[in-house]
Symmetry: C2
Subunit: 115 residues, 2 copies
Amino acid sequence: MAEISSDVIRGYNDIIILYLLLNDPSYGYEISKQIRTLSEDKYIIKETTLYSAFTRMEKNGFVESFVDEDLAGGKKRTYYRITPAGREYYRVKCEEWMLTKEVIEKFIAGEGRAV
Amino acid sequence: MAEISSDVIRGYNDIIILYLLLNDPSYGYEISKQIRTLSEDKYIIKETTLYSAFTRMEKNGFVESFVDEDLAGGKKRTYYRITPAGREYYRVKCEEWMLTKEVIEKFIAGEGRAV
DNA sequence: CTGTCGTACTACGACTGTCGGAGTAAATAT
DNA sequence: ATATTTACTCCGACAGTCGTAGTACGACAG
């Protein structure tokens, strides 16, 4: 099966992550598993990519983090919550996606187009 | 109007360019204008991006270049022709696009989905 | 009681495609 | 005469992703 390369998904990791924060805060490991599940194993985000996206988006004010210190066994977990600015960013990026899709498909074979 | 950012189109410049070489060889300036026209001014590829894509794709064997020395006034123009490997690469990339589109749209609001 | 697997990250350096800016030079339009 | 269009080329910078490694705790198998 074809795999999704990083160049191709680049620029969409942000919205993929934010989508999963729209309803509830979540954390890295959980998000990572959800991406895998929701995409039916077609996209498995790299840990480093995911965590660096969190850092970047927090710096940009799109998410806020808080730590849950009370996990069983004294373990910690860092949650991220989407901010209003993050929601707006998500919305804008979705619109950009629609536009990009339209443009790219003019240059794509398939969907009834001959090569 | 929203603009298409480089991160978002990254990874698709190759197929956009190859698409325009499918039927006939062409050259940088012409391709650049065609992208602009076909996308209805929604995507204007940067010169540096375009020419470095040519160089990269030639190195990878997806295109071949030849120079037309006989332009009026002794000017030169470098044409690029798609190779069989380039056609195959284009085909594969198009399939990858279909898959990527499917995946991304699971994380996108709009198209009847609520946010 | 030892080792592997799953959870939940962090750090660091490398790579690649894109970008910004500058420059070149001839042809055509004003 | 000057500006614009055509047709590139070179250079250094940047940002996001990746590969590799490491940490640390708990649960479960052998």
